[in-house]
Point group: D3
Chain length 137, copies 6
């Protein structure tokens, strides 16, 4: 068993805001992140796969295939987008880094399984000072 | 003459979009950056000062003073904000990295002069793949 | 279960030196790190929390609360200090990165528990070439 | 139990190519990495050790000893070399990052055991966009 | 006048070796870099442009155009290649970082001029410990 | 004319403190940096050389020679040392980053000249948030 990780990046806007709460409660809970006019980040995503080494190729997985899956399922829907407004798999959900990491896992788990390997970890940096890791439910 | 540089960071949303252009022309010119629902970045700002060394302190400038000036004039107005909507000194201007760097220079030039030193350079990273440098008009 | 990590940094002086050993034995064991006049580092600390996602906020923990706990219990006592002389929780202990990581864990475990989540890992970089990880006793 | 990690780096050439396959099959499988005239990388290697803290020294292991073992067994054989042609422990093996990480583990496991601690993880970056982790068989 | 910089990366093999010198003289002069079987690097290239800001777009230059020029003229010829054997514009030249930076300048100067702006600087990292800057003849 | 830069690093302790001032004045002027028991940093030093390319070797300078000069004149005297107490060329001087950069220039200018090239710039990072650049008197 060996682990291989691919990094991809995307830029997106979001806010942390609940429509069913008052402005005050949003500000108290989410601080500057509740700015109604949005703010944004350069997100950095690390996708880790686990599997055995294919003796024919020396690969766990062809990284070009993994890259295509990440681009199609995660980067294209998120890059230069508004996470709250533009992203189908985030509709109706709070745009926290935690929930975004879980939903990225949900987007990638099946397509990666179809390559014959298992998704092991999603690691998502919002800034260089904070990141989230998710290993599945 | 010696140069000293302070790094500060901010997160913000923006889009590259002209209201006086059609959607098509905006998309042709600005690509993904024209997304009407905004996107955003972790900006990294490097402010470089030039001056002589004060023999009393060994400093060109007290970095705590420089930090306060940058926070008050640049970071507070920009951090967790929408550059197009929330930032007075960017009102009516295109939110490109180039114009943002020039306007950050304009915010900092006078307050830094009042400390007895000169602003030398604004270096502004939008992502780890591109940055702008401005040395004044 | 999800993991969230906050980075903080501090600068400190230390030496690796046992008063009950000869100068020679200290030098043989600790090399350049035994310099009696101290040396120092920019330490980089990553604190990882594990917990469930609060469905009200989308957070495992409010990072502003976590930051306050780290600043009060770790950064304020260590930043711009001498680890051997100035830091109560390091008194009488060897100032190795290993022991420092364990003692940082001991400072943070209880205050973090009181937020309703669990401390998972302390990761402490002494330089970009070496770091220590501790997951508790 | 605590974990300590040492970073070392090396530059090397390689190609992903099987002599028993046609040029077409090599290109289909390995893409640009099959270039017959080689290409190369700045590899970044992180070696993680686990063990208890020696109460005499505050160390899990003397990092100078660990560094010597890594230099002698991994860096000297690999640095400024051709992985396919010059490296005894890679002879007859595909020069993928996965297999290289496993073989680096095999070089380091015994010498590290003789220091009284255990090798925990090999983490090997081929570029800043992909890395492999191996925890032993 | 403002400066904008784009980063691109490529992996390549090379050696520092003169066919008209003996093996000994090559080894004495170029050390480990003379390994006849090649070694390689992850090169990091920063291309800096200077120009005025186009008031229509807020851009000095469309970075998508700059990226295309760099990919076509520099990255495609160099990435996953052998600098000594595979690269037309390096034929018959020593594959030092200095000469490579100059030749990258020569590849980019004219295409960039045709966009109406001027190439200002080539900055080329061979490793994180050394880089070359060239501003033209 | 071309520029080549070598990075080296060192760890050191220092304080910003004038013995001819009161404790209060030191604290007012230098803040946390005046801690009498010292603090310290991982310094990162970039030394830039300018010169022509030697057509025999493709080099401005052999980086192994430059490295030796930097190690002998700057890193050995500073690494794992106390800048205020242990370093001859800093005796009687304030240990600010500015003055340290100037004195590093003074240590390197002549030995580099003897290699037939010119020292162009000293760039010295105290932390990732601040650095000083010096180009000579």
């Amino acid at each position: 068993m060996i682990f291989i990780t691919r990094r991809e990046r995307f830029n997106a806007a979001h806010k942390l805001y609940r429509e069913d709460w008052s402005v005050e409660k949003n500000n108290d809970t989410f601080g500057k992140c509740a700015n109604p006019n949005w703010h944004g980040h350069n997100y950095e995503l690390f996708v880790t796969i686990k599997g055995g080494i294919n003796p024919e190729t020396g690969f766990v997985i062809d990284l070009k295939d993994l890259k295509k899956i990440i681009i199609a399922n995660v980067i294209d829907p998120l890059d230069h987008k508004n996470i709250n407004l533009d992203v189908d798999f985030m509709k109706g959900k709070l745009a926290s880094t935690e929930i975004l990491a879980v939903e990225i896992w949900n987007q990638l788990e099946q397509p990666i399984k179809q390559l014959g390997v298992a998704l092991h970890r999603i690691k998502l940096f919002e800034t260089e000072n904070n990141y989230v890791e998710y290993f599945g439910a």
